[in-house]
Symmetry: C2
Amino acid sequence: MRPPFEPPLRALMGPGPSDAHPAVLRAMAAPLIGHLDPRFIDAMNEVKAMLQAVLRTKNELTFALSAPASAGMEMCLVNLLEPGDDAVVCVNGVFGGRMSDIVERCGARLSRVDVPWGRPVLPDDLAPVLERVRPKLVAVVHAETSTGVRTPLEPLSELAHAAGALFVVDAVTSVAGIDVRSDDWRIDALYSGSQKCLSAPPGLSPVTFGPAAMEAVRRRATKVQSWFLDVTLLAGYVAGGAGRVYHHTAPVAALLALHEALRLVLAEGLEARFERHRRHHERLREGLEGLGLRYVVEPQYRLPQLNLVWVPEGVNEAAVRRELLDTYGIEIGGGLGEFAGRAWRIGLMGGSCTLGHVDRLLAALHRLLR
Amino acid sequence: MRPPFEPPLRALMGPGPSDAHPAVLRAMAAPLIGHLDPRFIDAMNEVKAMLQAVLRTKNELTFALSAPASAGMEMCLVNLLEPGDDAVVCVNGVFGGRMSDIVERCGARLSRVDVPWGRPVLPDDLAPVLERVRPKLVAVVHAETSTGVRTPLEPLSELAHAAGALFVVDAVTSVAGIDVRSDDWRIDALYSGSQKCLSAPPGLSPVTFGPAAMEAVRRRATKVQSWFLDVTLLAGYVAGGAGRVYHHTAPVAALLALHEALRLVLAEGLEARFERHRRHHERLREGLEGLGLRYVVEPQYRLPQLNLVWVPEGVNEAAVRRELLDTYGIEIGGGLGEFAGRAWRIGLMGGSCTLGHVDRLLAALHRLLR
């Protein structure tokens, strides 16, 4: 008989998942209840209200999709796009590339705004494309997990709306780490992930659809190509209040974990949480620079929760990561795309954003890099 | 500040989720590890091996999809169907209907084999349709969760293959409750759910693709319409052994829960587990019939793990279910479709298939129905 799996203890300082609070793990491990149990419906209604607060939106259709953020991304795009629609996707890392792939699978006409990785997408990047095409939507990644770049959303939202387009945002790594103002910034559809700065276990994707997005869905001439992701079918279950009707079996345990994680986020307060991320990021930055490491991204576009630093000359980056994991129990991330083998991604997300994490990593790197 | 959610204690005897073993809940609540951690890759490899054993298959592409069984259903169909393909779907309940919907969203030509709800799909139902169309696939539900009917798969598989079609099976409620022999019965693609007789929390969908199905995927002229469900992209991560490459962030905690649930299934032994389901089903049946309740389904097609019984004349079925839940802490399911308001669905799945559950429900019904 196979023995039980004994997971090692890690400090999760990569691009996610981050360390979940013990209360979140406890919430997840409660004896199961049914997905149509009136008490579980109460919990889902509370998740909705808390997500609205965290995403700063009044959107009725605000919920946690029963799948990872990649499915949340696909959900936003397949509901809003029909074959032949025009879509503009801003690409400055892995996830803009993934959105582009999905846009094409929807049969839509893709216009890419390609920006060098490690740089944000700026209005001057987007504006020329909007002079050529009048897209149904413009999609952009707020916090590129592959590069640690923050793209300021407000000016892009203005451009998109001025062109008559919906504004779709990947906020996977930003939510609960830096400010995301869905309504103020006129975001029409947004998806996030449970396992970054929210510090719930991976597997759920908070999603919100605004009124203009829902109007676009209602006006579709064709059915959404995905049954599982069809927001018109999901709406009756995820946002139906007391009258929720069966759609699929919700991941009860994961949702109760997210409930507790959201509760902790709001108990801390969003502003206090953002300030914590800024403060510990500064401490990490000072320490890393003291070790001679350099940041890839310009200061004003750096994400406090995801730090992309160049691997020093002559250092075997994979060996350092392996040693960090095996000897020190610390996970950090390798680079992706053009940064593969050349940079590290150091996460300070939610529960992993503590002085203890910062100091532990700096001490380990001090030994490994000297 | 909102208080923590306090879930009630339930005996889950509906159509799923079922009661998870405390060891499964504990496994899920272990401190998180990364989805690319070498130790987690070990755990995923073990999940694969155990799923192969439970599904009785040697298929390399055997894994737990990071989403509920509805997404597993969609995964099987979107990978195998292209616009214009012919597909035959057998419909004797809710889930055959759902498959039909997805087939149409794939742009495939749908031929339905409609059978009255509460009856199995028999060779004589399928054969005439296969004389009219030569489909790319035939899809059927092994254990209809909406009706408690078992459809014998072997004769349908023979017919499908004789017609040159792939054989696709919904085994959501059957796996680990009654025998599912993927290889012996020449099933080309199959999906299941974590929360039925496997008694892991809801949210994952065990899936297996056989060689003929993968060959059909390789021969596609068009891209799979879903990025998230594209098996060619997933394969490198879910079945890649040591060389697993990033696709999406796996739901680590849920997968470790499934790991423990599979371990318990194999420790019990499949045959012993099926026998337990048969035995307790018999006890339940005797008890229910003693209370004057009648089964909807013919004896030889009844699922031991899902019992569909008529609501007695003059009984307010919703009130009884509510009273069971509120006073006795027991969840059972209402009827779906034509059985809505007319029948109950009583589950004896995995961890909920114990004498304690049976006797507790019978005692409660004895009081409520007398």
